[in-house]
Symmetry: C2
Subunit: 266 residues, 2 copies
């Protein structure tokens, strides 16, 4: 269905704007992704928005045309609105902007097939949505199966995390679990749990990684709880030549993930 | 000197708040760093703020005491103000917050001694201050000499970049240069220029890196200009197993930098 809407107080406009806030995403089970590139990535990964929003009279573009056709064919909605209303929804003053509304994906551990990939990234209490999205992007690059978010992490469906993922939110499985759910699940099958750690750790280079390898990094300020590290099969450390004793969480995950990829035969 | 100031319209308060904006940093040659941890990192790296700002009646802390003593001994100022005014300066509602004002460092290429470190990071048109700060932090970790910013990059002295650097802005040399200054400078001495690239590139792993190695990454959206890549001594590529064809810029720099560190004997 294709329709025009006008006016800031239109309930659809309000509902779309509200998706910038976590509580409204949670309540509706929907999230926003913005930009033709991101929406094209989604489409090419087999994920279509339920609703596509753009300005009336927007410049035509072959990728946008393909997106509109597919959304309509799948029974979705294409909404055209004024540039002003669009700017309210996207928070950007860009008449070429487009936004898509997606249903949130299933993030249950039970949906994971651990043997579908040699690497899984795991983040504990990761607070920064940019770091979270960057980990998804890195996961896509190293051929990981997905990102498992332990305890209270940033929302993977926030606009910032989706943007930083550069489309990987549509290709990587995203899982949300408490530690006391994750650990029994992990131990119910194959899987090596590896932490970047300073305690009782071996050099990350040439360490005995094995698939499926679950690479875990901790909170940006506090790192991993000691009790979590103690449960790991392998603790690895990276050289720190300077004053600092840690890397950015997404950077640590990436350096490790590329080492694991090389070891397991990337 | 120690003094109390009150009132939002006090000129010192206005000048401090203004340091959140680039044009005022440029005009004054000063920048802000916030938080006891960051200021302690600075002090331990031999860099003291000219001015230290905190709330009157703030809880005492041995590290803060040491900082105050050193600032006063060096002829700097310690300013106490109300929690409200402090919140205006730092943008945070935290009565324990502290802020320091530093003179910007010399960022001229001529200040660089290229042989003081085996690795230098180079970023071209990097727009995100978080990525910039993260690259400084990674540089500290791999024992790099510093970060060379080519063309129009984010401001390394912005509050966001300083925060993301986790203190590395005080240990890493920061250089700002145009490409047509950088390249002749580089070629006037020893130095291997390496780019993360998709064009005519060899596997990043086991590539023939040599010190001093200048590792260059490009703009977040556009990557490096082709003409810049053509000037590199070595173009390397990292495996990309998924849909995307690139990594986050700070992540790419880190994965490369750790590989170079391992190759050169970290």
């Amino acid at each position: 269905m294709r329709r025009q809407i006008t006016g800031f107080s239109n309930p659809t406009v309000k509902a779309l704007r509200a998706l910038r806030e976590k509580k409204h995403r949670k309540a509706s089970g929907k999230f926003l992704a913005e930009g033709l590139r991101l929406l094209t990535d989604a489409r090419e990964s087999g994920k279509l928005p339920e609703v596509l929003v753009m300005a009336s009279g927007r410049d035509p573009h072959p990728l946008l045309g393909a997106l509109e056709t597919d959304v309509l064919a799948a029974g979705g909605e294409v909404i055209e609105t004024s540039e002003d209303v669009l700017a309210k929804i996207t928070g950007k003053d860009n008449p070429q902007a487009i936004a898509g509304v997606f249903a949130e994906f299933d993030t249950a551990l039970s949906a994971v097939n651990r043997n579908c990939a040699p690497i899984w990234l795991v983040a504990q209490a990761l607070r920064d949505p940019g770091n979270l999205g960057t980990m998804l992007r890195t996961g896509d690059a190293v051929g990981a199966g997905g990102l498992i978010l332990i305890d209270d992490c940033a929302d993977p469906f926030s606009v910032e995390a989706v943007r930083a993922s550069m489309g990987a939110v549509f290709t990587q499985q995203v899982v949300q679990a408490r530690w006391d759910e994750f650990l029994p699940w992990l131990r119910s099958g194959e899987g090596q749990l590896v932490a970047a750690s300073l305690r009782d750790a071996v050099d990350y280079r040439g360490a005995p990684y094995s698939a499926p390898c679950f690479l875990m990094v901790g909170n940006e300020s506090r790192g991993l709880p000691e009790a979590y590290e103690a449960e790991c099969d392998l603790r690895v450390t990276m050289p720190m030549k300077g004053r600092a004793d840690s890397l950015n969480a997404a950077v640590a995950a990436a350096v490790l993930a590329y080492e694991v990829l090389a070891t397991l035969g990337g």
